[in-house]
């Protein structure tokens, strides 16, 4: 399946180059949840406690099951307004 992954703000700084990338994930990799996806993308970097996750622009938690063509975003607490 193809998952589009985005990182914003300090989360992008943390990930370096991988700020916005489409991953072709082979089914046998056993990536089911957002948490699995982080581990797959983050090359050993721990997921910060306060990271927020959106799938297709809606907030979800790390146990959310991803599916083909999902857009998954990781970002720090929002600071608008």
């Amino acid at each position: 399946m193809t998952i589009h992954v985005k990182f914003f703000a300090s989360m992008r700084d943390l990930m370096g180059d991988d700020q916005e990338i489409s991953h072709n994930i082979l089914e046998q990799k056993n990536i089911k949840t957002v948490d699995d996806l982080w581990i797959y993308c983050a090359e050993g970097k721990e997921r910060p406690n306060n990271v927020l996750i959106a799938v297709n622009m809606d907030y979800v938690d790390a146990q959310y099951f991803i599916k083909d063509r999902d857009e998954v975003a990781f970002f720090p607490p929002v600071t608008g307004g």
């Binding site: 985005k6 914003f8 703000a9 300090s10 700084d13 959106a54 622009m57 907030y59 975003a73 970002f75 720090p76 607490p77 929002v78 600071t79 608008g80 307004g81």
Partner: protein, 147 residues
């Protein structure tokens, strides 16, 4: 109901003037209360002088959340109209960052709705502030002040 993401400097009072003057005739005489909040960039934050700011957002999700917030408030507080303008990109001290305005029949709903929208925006809408300090350092703002 209108949500605008703005990368240019905007004058909140001019926006309000324009928005109100473009309201349909049916709005005339129907609202008794307008509550407005304007957030402005300060030149000082968390003990440091700030010279510049960059406001990042998540295009698409930001608009979606602001529209949702407005829609929810419209139902909950019987808003007759609402307007959100939010700045993104490079910002200087004294620039307006956010404008929230609501129009209702009575004042109580207006006050509560305007504050509620701002708190929801602050906690949900995907924006991130990066500050440039006078002493050169650049830092992400880690969290908003308590509402």
């Amino acid at each position: 109901m209108k949500v605008i993401i703005n990368s240019d400097c905007f004058d909140p009072w001019q926006r309000l003037n324009q928005f109100q003057s473009e309201m349909p005739d049916t709005m005339q005489g129907s609202y008794g209360a307008t509550a407005v909040f304007v957030g402005t960039m300060r030149d000082f934050n968390e003990g440091d002088d700030v010279s510049d700011m960059f406001l990042e957002h998540y295009p698409g999700m930001t608009e979606r959340y602001l529209e949702n917030i407005c829609l929810q408030a419209t139902k909950k507080y019987d808003l007759l109209e609402s307007l959100i303008v939010h700045r993104v990109g490079h910002i200087k001290p004294n620039d307006s960052i956010v404008l929230v305005a609501v129009w209702t029949e009575h004042r109580k709903q207006a006050f509560i709705a305007c504050r509620d929208i701002m708190e929801n925006l602050k906690s949900k809408a995907p924006f991130w502030k990066k500050e440039q300090l006078n002493k050169g350092q650049i830092r992400w703002v880690e969290k908003n002040t308590q509402g």
